[in-house]
């Protein structure tokens, strides 16, 4: 009897190994007083190492771990987005009350654990690894949402996310089981072969499975009508965590959404595309209308994220290479826009007593131009105005949609964008068009200002700190840069689509 030692591709697994190793180091470092201050730095190093190894593996297309994972440009692209978001999160978490309350080591380990789940999810090519990865990314997030221990909203947000997230996971798992039952395979390519014969509509088992799995995923990406948790959780969670959640979770979940639908279910694209198109439209409508009356910037961005997820889902609906390209491009752009906005919100939360209300950014234009510009650019880009990468992203998506005979969804995106202007520009108006009267630094007595006693202390200089201003400026500059010179990012996104082209119909 011969024994074939499994062939382990260490090079391709190296980013995952680096992240896992980094988790151990950071956790240990958090225990010892002497090195505790180095925890953020170690986290950044880990993320940097993982990013470097991923970039090193750029261009590879191979199955790993007996086909459970697949390393290709889509996986790497999305993993890089998640790592970027995590690095931003580490920076804007410096001096965040949640970090000291939860313990610096624990906070950063949870963050890294979630990133690990995301990188795995982006590579998952098997129902089992898919589910394990999505849980690996979710469980740390449930905890992270509740790390601001002294604020009831944070705890509530964590609990809410836990309950709804578990619902989503359960639905997903249920669906996956159906699909396995219907197709006889857990492997994505095996599923494609298994259900190819009768088609989805001929097989109720698979049909129910797909519906349930799509529902579960829609929970994670916050696609309407499975979005109700989003604004509440976004608002309650510590803002750096919200930023990370809004950007990275969405990217990773979209990656697996793409892989699941455009690989496992690609042959039946004609059966599910209408359903996804309807979900996308619902999301665009609900997100944009919901955001209109919001006074909390985090809730506003939560609703805007629902709408943006609807736009991005459009890239999936057409099941084409152009659609995937557009989706990946938009994900990257979406991350930059949101990270810039959240960095500014964090700064204002710390230096005013208004928390994340729109009032907190009133008069920002004359008071702190270095924060005002990033937030302005971010809002204009989210609204898809030209000169920013947001415009190119919308252009890319609409082009893919029209090309895939979904012009009406392109029109829906245009209509949604119009509605969205009302709330994005409201923020811009607050920044530049209202005088800074008694905001900000002057409101130094939180106890009198009606804030609850557990309010976090005010740091009057937060708006000038490099670890907040730097990331905000960087993300905003990148948003403008890719709006003027989009070609590099377009080519980058094209690789991701090309990686899946062999599976597409």
């Amino acid at each position: 009897m011969n024994f074939n030692a499994p062939d382990i591709d260490y090079a391709a697994l190296s980013p995952v190994i680096a992240l896992t190793g980094g988790i151990c180091v950071v956790l240990l470092a958090g225990v010892f007083d002497r090195v505790r201050r180095a925890v953020p730095l170690l986290t950044l190093l880990t993320l940097g190492a993982a990013a470097g190894l991923f970039i090193w593996q750029w261009g590879e297309r191979k199955d790993l771990v007996a086909g459970a994972l697949r390393l290709d440009e889509l996986a790497v692209a999305v993993a890089l987005i998640a790592i970027l978001a995590a690095a931003f999160c580490v920076l804007i978490s410096v001096r965040e009350p949640a970090v000291s309350q939860a313990g610096s080591g624990e906070y950063h380990v949870l963050l890294l654990g979630s990133v690990l789940g995301m990188t795995l999810l982006a590579q998952a090519q098997n129902l089992v690894s898919f589910f394990i990865a999505i849980e690996t990314l979710s469980v740390p997030l449930y905890v992270l949402c509740a790390t601001n221990l002294r604020r009831a909203e944070s705890l509530e947000s964590g609990l809410k996310y836990l309950i709804i997230g578990s619902m989503g996971s359960a639905t997903l798992l249920y669906g996956l089981a159906f699909i396995y039952g219907g197709s006889g395979s857990t492997d994505f390519t095996g599923i494609a072969a298994g259900i190819g014969k009768e088609g989805v509509l001929g097989d109720p088992l698979v049909l129910v499975g797909i519906a349930l799995a799509a529902t579960g995923l829609a929970f994670k990406i916050s696609i309407a009508p499975f979005h109700q948790w989003t604004p509440d959780v976004y608002q309650g969670a510590p803002t750096p965590v919200t930023a990370f959640m809004a950007v990275a979770t969405k990217a990773a979940a979209f990656a697996v959404f793409v892989r699941f639908f455009d690989v496992a279910l690609a042959p039946e694209a004609g059966d599910w595309d209408v359903a996804l198109a309807v979900l996308a439209t619902a999301s665009i409508a609900v997100g944009n209308i919901g955001a209109l009356g919001q006074d909390s910037l985090k809730r506003l961005l939560g609703y805007s994220g629902i709408a943006q997820a609807g736009y991005m889902l459009g890239g999936l609906v057409v099941a084409s290479e152009a659609g995937i390209n557009a989706l990946v491009f938009y994900l990257a752009v979406y991350s930059l826009m949101n990270l810039a906005a959240f960095a500014v919100i964090v700064a204002r939360e710390r230096e005013t007593s208004f928390g994340d209300e729109i009032r907190a950014v009133e008069g920002l234009g004359s008071e702190r131009p270095l924060l005002a510009w990033p937030l302005t650019i971010s809002m204009l880009a989210l609204a898809g105005l030209p000169g920013t990468a947001g415009f190119i992203g919308k252009l890319y998506l609409i082009e893919a949609l029209v090309d895939g005979d979904y012009t009406w969804l392109g029109v829906a995106i245009a209509v949604g964008t119009m509605i969205s202007l009302a709330y994005y520009l409201r923020v811009v108006a607050a920044i530049w068009m209202r005088p800074a009267e008694d905001t900000a630094v002057t409101a130094e007595v939180p106890a009198v200002a009606g804030a609850s006693p557990e309010a976090d202390p005010i740091d009057a200089d937060a708006g000038g700190r490099w670890y907040l201003v730097g990331p905000a400026l960087l993300a905003a500059a990148a948003t403008v840069f890719f709006g003027v010179i989009p070609q590099p990012l377009v080519e980058w996104a094209e690789h991701a689509g090309a990686a899946l082209s062999q599976f597409l119909p």
Partner: protein
């Protein structure tokens, strides 16, 4: 050269951020002056005999999406480029003399506005055009919102601006979808290209043209604004700071009319013919409604605003006559109206400073000790009402001539609009400058600095009145090109009642020529 015309304003606007507040405005004025110099250089080198594009720049911008950075000049846009460069300079200078607060941002936005508008005129790639068209809105959002005036009845400048943005972007976002659809349908699975010249080669099927036509038309009609889509205009005009409003009303509204000529007519000829009468009805409604509103309003800004609605109605009617005369006249009239309305708004600013109000009922007698101001205003007024001898007269004459050839009934109604124009223009002049002077009004003549801004502008109006051929000679060939497609479609249609009486239209014998040879025609 064409690149430097486009980007010089923005460059100086950014430079202006790094100088002390007092100088920020003057740096941008310098930028506008350099731009004007460069634009004159381009005009001087413009070969009026050649049809087709000149001074072109064409580089791949986003090759994956088929978008190229492509600029070019022809008879259609050369004078609109000149108009933009010419009007921005006095507007910026006028603002710089008055030192708005937060000058860095103010002048950056004015400069960005110039670059965006020039970009919309110069772009030869459909998507680039849409991009600049949308971009124009951003600086004016800031200018109107942050430096606008709130009204006593509680309408804030921000709210008024918001209304404007929503109106205009409804049109332009649909236009984005329409532009993409045009390119994709025209490529038909082949190499995607947004180049307007390329798109002219493969005209879409009639069914697709129908809906795409309206998506474009909505964007352009809102921008003008045309009747029924003008809801944003009264609020925004009352809120806007006057120097910004001068260029906004004079130049940005022309982008809409220009869009019809550049994009809609050549790319969607079947739909243009099909909907010709609907658009003409909208245009006539704009003329009548605008005129009637202009002589019932008492706010001087709104008088100028509604008169613009009427004038843009004329221009639209001229374009949709689909006759070379009409389109020539429309193009001339775009330049005329721009030249006229910008000084009107600057004069309104001067008057408001003297009267302390913008209400016509409380003004009067300003001419008493202000002969230069009165003379300037009188010339502008007479040009507005298209007095024979002014270039506006020539423009309107051409428009009506084209309209007579095409749809005689429409021409009669449009002619009535000219009469109304005389009424509201003279009313504005009389009520502000003549009559007894109410006590608080200060009748002062123009300061030398304001005169330095206004007198050259008025000089341009006079010069163009003497020599309108300057424009007409250079636009003729290009206008013919733009109309060729529509005329070809028209001549292939079964004869309708009015075709019999058009000996002249039949003489445009190149109508039978295939579309592709348009650029080569001399």
């Amino acid at each position: 050269m064409i690149n430097s015309v486009l980007w010089t304003p923005l460059l100086f606007g950014i430079l202006g951020l790094f100088v002390p507040r007092r100088w920020a405005g003057w740096v941008v004025v310098g930028g506008a002056a350099v731009t004007l110099g460069l634009a004159i250089g381009l005009l001087a080198g413009f070969d009026s005999g050649a049809s087709g594009l000149q001074d072109t720049v064409d580089v791949d911008w986003i090759s994956g999406l088929g978008v190229s950075y492509s600029l070019g000049l022809d008879g259609l846009n050369v004078f609109l480029m000149m108009l933009t460069a010419l009007l921005w300079l006095p507007a910026v200078a006028f603002a710089a003399m008055r030192q708005p607060d937060r000058p860095h941002l103010y002048f950056l936005m004015l400069a960005l506005g110039e670059t965006a508008t020039l970009g919309a005129f110069l772009a030869q790639d459909l998507l680039l055009f849409v991009l600049f068209f949308d971009l124009m809105l951003v600086p004016f959002y800031f200018l109107f919102g942050a430096w606008g005036q709130d009204r006593p009845d509680g309408t804030t400048a921000v709210a008024a601006t918001m209304k404007m943005i929503v109106y205009t972007l409804i049109g332009s976002l649909l236009m984005l979808v329409a532009a993409i659809a045009t390119a994709i349908l025209a490529a038909d699975g082949g190499q995607l290209s947004f180049s307007i010249v390329d798109l002219q080669q493969n005209v879409l099927s009639e069914g697709s043209q129908r809906w795409i036509f309206w998506f474009f038309a909505a964007a352009f009609l809102v921008k003008m604004p045309a009747f029924l889509l003008h809801g944003w205009m009264p609020d925004a005009y009352r809120a806007a700071p006057l120097p910004a409003l001068a260029v906004f009303s004079a130049v940005l509204s022309k982008v809409g009319a220009y869009g019809f000529l550049r994009v809609v007519l050549p790319l969607f000829p079947d739909a243009t013919i099909e909907f010709q009468e609907i658009v003409l009805v909208i245009a006539l409604a704009s003329i009548l409604y605008g005129s009637v509103m202009a002589f019932t309003q008492t706010n001087v800004r709104l008088i100028a605003g509604y008169s613009s609605v009427a004038q843009l109605g004329f221009i639209t009617a001229g374009i949709f006559a689909l006759r070379p005369d009409g389109a020539d006249g429309a193009l001339l009239q775009m330049v005329n109206h721009g030249l006229v309305v910008a000084p009107v708004f600057l004069i309104i600013a001067v008057l408001a400073e003297r009267a302390g109000t913008e209400d016509l009922r409380e003004m009067g007698g300003i001419a008493l000790r202000a002969p230069v101001l009165a003379a300037m205003f009188l010339i502008v007024t007479l040009a507005t009402l298209a007095m024979p001898g002014s270039a506006n007269f020539i423009g309107e004459f051409y428009i009506l001539n084209g309209l007579f050839q095409a749809k005689i009934v429409f021409a009669f109604v449009a002619g009535a609009g000219m009469v109304l124009a005389a009424y509201y223009a003279l009313r504005l002049y009389q009520r502000t400058m003549h009559n007894r002077k109410p006590e608080p009004i200060d009748s002062r003549d123009l300061g030398w600095r304001d005169a330095a801004v206004l007198v050259p502008l008025v000089g341009c109006i006079v010069a163009l009145a003497f020599y309108p051929q300057l424009v007409l000679k250079r636009t003729d060939a290009a206008v013919g090109n733009q109309l060729r497609q529509a005329q070809r479609v028209d001549s292939n249609r079964p004869l309708t009642w009015q075709r019999g009486r058009e000996s002249e239209a039949a003489s445009i014998s190149d109508s039978a020529r295939p579309s592709g040879s348009g650029a080569a025609a001399s």
